[in-house]
């Protein structure tokens, strides 16, 4: 289909603001009389606060307030950034207090100080006297479930947050019928989002007595609700403002600092208080990606037909539930619309431990399950002597596939083309031949992996998006959306959709990038790769309404019927003749100033999107393995995506580059380490935590197979999280191809790779002697 603006690499709307330093982030706003908030954190992984003496801290000059859980409403609340559920059975676990009276991990927040400056606040923290009763703690999910293990929360026996699972078909019967039953264990590690902007908020009480919170968040409307719930305020008494944000990746799809920032302001008589975490605090007291252990058991025939799969998943959610079991359930839902299993049994367990809290992170459980599944498929292919790509091709679903559980129907499915394109781009067959019979210390290998992902959360949660368009006197429009720009480029995509529908150049669409819950249309925010798909539908609907109104006003002016006209490049055109009949500005001015009929052209609408579109893709990678050092380097990598119509190719490439880079970090370098004795984080800073630098990052190649998704705006579906899913298993499979050694846990960092190579007898005796 031919479009003027959709499908073009329009420059992102905020590029100039960001490249000149004019873009203002949460910490760039200063209020007069602003105070600084700091937090006292538990040194113990599990301990009850026995007694508190705040007198010395309160006496320090420059201290405005010092408080603990005892000074706050004792309201348990849930922090996960989900739309509120009217059904109490479907709500997130309410297990949090703003400050805790029982520490459940090293770093749990037990007291807060508000002071004139950071130094005074730090000094006051040291003057707080707290006596703890230290309890035994557990760091692994297995230990946490053992008989007699210390319980983190009163109402969760065995520390199990949930073990709700799903199934269809009869997997046990398939195990009996199939030619082979193949099992495998796979494991992922704790990684962190590492957005470069910290987690930060500032709050004050305004002249009307309302609590105003400015925050670096992906979900302003949800933050409003949760701040109100945590403080026991009516929801309308809270206002949340979200300016530019310096990355989120899911960490800011959770309410972490805002209720405490608001409590700090309330404790200081409503004065503005800034609570900005240090980097070290961000690592331990925001969220992480769930470490998961997966046991896969698959029924497969000799010809490679996958008959059934039993997935047992153990997810370590740390000290509080946060998004908790939703993430395990998300994992279980994403592979079904990719491979046509006759039966699936998905048995997840999400378990509390005394570690920092795991929550939403780009991919939401999907990178973990696809690491397991796509590694497992290569292991199966080897066992059966089938080509790994053929094994996958043989078992793909087809367009029209309906998920037996969600009833969601796949309407566009570009995986076969993604595979074909990926093989061609990386020269799969040619390189496979070249890699045969490698014996030396450096070996090349090829790997690939597929993935499926969704566009938003339907039918699990509400998918409501709001958009408002006002046409200005000159025919330009101002667009407001409740979904947030967090760097992914959604504002630019929304402007493109609006401009396309309204026949405007992109410069005539102004997007209000700040969300303010007092004035921004209601929308749950940026997560689940929902913005282009879900909010895009609302934006298109709003733009269509504006278009209809423009043509109605033009009809009054020209005598033509609305259906006979179109808007093209700011002009009203008689479609049949291609003749300009008036300017868009003429129409807008009539709408504002006609003495009889004036009514400015606006649209304020929302879309309740009760449909989902599956996105797909594949990673193809060639690795270079140094057998003697255990170092794995990516020689060439391609991510090929089916995200429907690509609205903005350059922004889409950017999403792929960043997602693949994040996935390679998890595959090869990154993991949070904890002292097994104390539970204390060992590398909660950007020096010891191996976030990939520019030197660690290979050239990343993005390619697209553009299907047309009937449900999405202009045929589009999700992309943002997709690139982070398949690179890790592809790398793992490439190492297997290069060396014959199958790894079952990421990251594949040199030490573990080296040790496993030695175990596998890959190292010549000579080099072992030198170790």
């Amino acid at each position: 289909m031919d479009h003027n603006i959709v499908g073009k690499s329009v420059t992102r709307l905020d590029a100039v603001a960001k490249v000149t330093g004019k873009a203002k982030y949460t910490d760039d706003f200063f209020e007069r009389d602003m105070l600084v908030g700091k937090v006292l954190r538990s040194p113990h992984a599990h301990a009850v606060v026995k007694s508190v003496d705040l007198s010395r801290a309160r006496a320090l000059p420059g201290v405005a307030a010092v408080f603990t859980a005892l000074d706050l409403p004792k309201i348990k609340f849930a922090t996960a950034g989900h739309p509120w559920s009217l059904d109490p059975g479907h709500r997130d676990v309410e297990d949090r207090l703003i400050l805790t009276d029982k520490a459940r991990f090293v770093g749990d927040a037990v007291a807060a100080v508000v002071a004139e400056d950071a130094l005074t606040a730090e000094k006051a923290l040291r003057l707080i006297d707290i006596e703890y009763e230290v309890l035994p703690h557990v760091l692994t999910a297995e230990d946490a479930m053992k008989e007699g293990a210390p319980l983190l929360h009163e109402n969760r026996p065995g520390n199990v947050v949930s073990s709700f699972g799903v199934q269809f078909g009869d997997v046990e019967a398939e195990f009996g019928r199939a030619d082979h039953v193949i099992e495998g264990d796979y494991e992922t590690s704790v990684v962190q989002h590492c957005h470069i902007e910290s987690m930060s908020a500032f709050a004050y009480v305004d002249a009307d007595g309302r609590v105003v919170v400015n925050s670096s968040t992906q979900i302003p409307h949800i933050v409003r609700r949760i701040v109100a719930q945590a403080l026991g305020l009516p929801w309308g008494r809270v206002q949340v403002i979200k300016p530019y944000i310096g990355g989120g990746f899911g960490n800011k799809q959770d309410v972490v600092v805002e209720p405490l920032a608001a409590a700090m302001s309330l404790a200081a008589g409503g004065r503005p208080v800034r609570y900005c975490m240090t980097r070290e605090e961000v690592f331990i007291d925001t969220r992480t990606r769930h470490a998961m252990k997966l046991h896969l058991k698959t029924a497969v025939d000799a010809d490679g037909t996958l008959r059934g799969i039993h997935v047992q998943l153990l997810s370590n959610t740390g000290a509080y539930a946060s998004h908790g079991h939703s993430i395990a359930m998300s994992a279980g839902g994403k592979f079904r619309p990719l491979y046509d299993f006759a039966s699936v049994k998905f048995e997840p367990k999400t378990v509390y431990t005394n570690l920092p809290v795991a929550g939403a992170m780009r991919g939401y459980g999907t990178p973990q399950i696809f690491f397991a599944l796509e590694s497992h498929l290569d292991d199966i292919a080897r066992r059966l002597g089938i080509d790994p790509i053929e094994l996958r091709r043989k078992n793909l679903i087809k367009v029209g596939h309906q998920d037996p559980l969600t009833k969601n129907v796949v309407r566009s499915f570009g995986i076969p083309q993604c595979i074909e394109k990926g093989m061609e781009l990386i020269r799969w067959d040619e390189k496979r031949r070249a890699h045969l019979d490698q014996k030396g210390p450096r070996r090349r290998g090829l790997g690939m992996a597929l993935f499926a992902y969704a566009s938003g959360t339907h039918p699990v949660a509400l998918e409501l998006a709001g958009a408002r368009i006002v046409m200005n006197q000159d025919g330009s429009v101002t667009l407001q959306v409740g979904a947030t720009e967090i760097g992914q480029g959604s504002d630019t995509v929304f402007a493109q959709i609006t401009a396309e529908v309204l026949g405007l150049p992109i410069g005539m669409v102004h997007v209000v990038t700040t969300q303010d819950t007092d004035i921004t249309p209601f929308d749950s925010g940026a997560y689940a790769s929902r913005q282009t798909f879900v909010t895009g539908i609302a934006v298109r609907k709003a733009a269509m309404e504006v278009r209809d109104k423009v043509l109605e006003v033009a009809a009054r002016r020209t005598g033509l019927a609305p259906a006979e006209m179109d808007i093209r490049d700011c002009r009203i055109v008689e479609t049949a003749l291609g003749r300009v009949v008036c300017s868009l500005e003429d129409v807008a001015m009539d709408a504002y100033y006609d003495r009889l009929l004036a009514a400015p052209i606006t649209s304020d609408t929302s879309a309740n999107v009760r449909i989902n579109a599956m996105s797909y893709g594949a990673t193809f990678v060639e690795v270079d393995v140094d057998v003697e050092t255990g170092k794995v380097e990516v020689a060439e990598i391609w991510n090929v995506h089916d995200s429907g119509t690509i609205i903005n190719p350059r922004l889409a490439e950017g999403q792929v580059h960043g997602g693949v880079s994040m996935a390679l970090g998890a595959a090869l370098l990154e993991q949070m380490l904890f002292d097994p004795q104390t539970g204390k984080a060992l590398n909660n800073n950007l020096l010891d935590y191996k976030l990939p630098t520019i030197l660690d990052t290979p050239r990343i190649n993005a390619a697209f197979v553009e299907t047309f998704e009937a449900a999405g705006s202009f045929g589009s579906k999700s992309l943002g999280e997709c690139p982070v899913i398949s690179p890790a298993p592809a790398v793992r499979n490439a190492v297997l191809d290069a060396t014959g050694v199958a790894f079952h846990k990421i990251p594949l960092y040199p030490q573990v790779v080296f040790e496993k190579f030695r175990e596998a007898g890959l190292l010549a005796q000579r080099s072992v002697d030198h170790v």
Partner: protein, 159 residues
């Protein structure tokens, strides 16, 4: 202890009384409101707070404000001239090197220093020169493209 320092920020003379324990980052952001200087880690790991001191890229979070006495400091706010983007800024915009934008000011400044050095850099040298900047959004791809474009254009302009 207080100390009065005199420095230039983006070409304009500034005199200010500072606490000798303050970092240049804090003075630039909190006292002078140059909020284009970003705070990412406060300990010299991420590069977001990079400014140029007499033309040399420095992490302002681990540089005492007192040391800037008598020096010339350039922040991202000082790069565009008369409302026009510099060639480095243009390259970042054109190549799509910007996502959340938080690492962008520091990278623009380090790239500016490379361009202004008048030296030639290989692809690997550009990567090494910019390796003090962490970015979680872009996979660095388009950042390298932007830096190389700016260097290429500067070289072409000087020939």
């Amino acid at each position: 202890m207080q100390k009065r320092i005199a420095l230039k920020v983006n070409g304009r003379p500034v005199q200010i009384e500072i606490d000798i324990r303050e970092s240049l980052l804090d003075v630039l952001r909190d006292r002078l409101q140059f909020t284009g200087v970003k705070q990412g880690c406060s300990v010299g790991e991420c590069g977001a707070c990079t400014v140029l001191i007499d033309g040399v890229p420095v992490n302002s979070c681990i540089y005492l404000a007192a040391w800037a006495d008598g020096k010339s400091v350039t922040t991202v706010e000082g790069i565009a001239q008369d409302g026009r983007l510099s060639p480095v800024q243009e390259a970042f915009v054109e190549e799509g090197a910007i996502q959340c934008g938080f690492c962008t000011p520091g990278l623009v400044l380090s790239t500016t220093a490379l361009v202004e050095s008048g030296k030639r850099f290989t692809h690997d040298e550009v990567r090494r020169e910019l390796s003090g900047h962490l970015c979680r959004c872009t996979g660095y791809q388009k950042i390298i493209d932007a830096a190389e474009r700016a260097l290429r254009e500067a070289e072409a302009a000087s020939e």
